[in-house]
Amino acid sequence: LVFDRVLAPLPEVASALDRLNSAAWAAVDPELLDVCRLRVAMLLGCETELALGSTATSSLTLEDVRSWTTSDRVSPRQRACLAFAEQFVIDVKNLDDNTVSDVTEQLGVEGLVNFVSALLVIEQRQRLQLTWNALFTEKEAR
């Protein structure tokens, strides 16, 4: 992963990022978070994350995740979190009440808070990967 390469001179940052990633996955149902990770990867075009496929024991295929708004294989819990994740990635400041309350209804208040924290972590990791891959590929190509 690009993290190892870029953060090699910054072991404290690398360690903190690893710990944060582990804490995020431990705080939320990993299957639920994995489905959101894949959807975030689709939206951001993060091929390295998509190439990992489904890392948790998800019953959903990539096609289910891609067509989550219409797929009948997507549960109400997954649907609520996928809707939140999409809005979070595309325009976080315009998250509407219904999108938030749908997740709260499924996960509770504590579940919502931890889901948002975990979503932040997986989204930021993907943005970092995309940025660093672009920067270092360009730099190395010169």
Binding site: A16, R19, L20, T104, L112
Partner: protein, 63 residues
């Protein structure tokens, strides 16, 4: 845009933590991550602050 609070702040919880409801491991890990980033040098403070403010504006973050 809705800026009203969507997560209830219970008095006893709010008094104990700046991040009520959050898993303490996640909270600690976030603090550690932020602290580690702040120690990184290489970007001048003016650019650093300009980026921070630009991100806050983009995300409508008033804190």
């Amino acid at each position: 845009m809705n800026r009203s609070r969507r997560i209830p702040l219970e008095a006893n919880v709010a008094a104990q933590s700046v991040r009520p409801w959050q898993d303490p491991d996640v909270s600690d890990a976030l603090e550690q991550w932020m602290a580690s980033i702040l120690k990184v040098r290489g970007l001048d403070p003016v650019t650093d602050e300009a980026v921070r403010l630009r991100c806050a504006y983009h995300h409508d973050c008033h804190t």
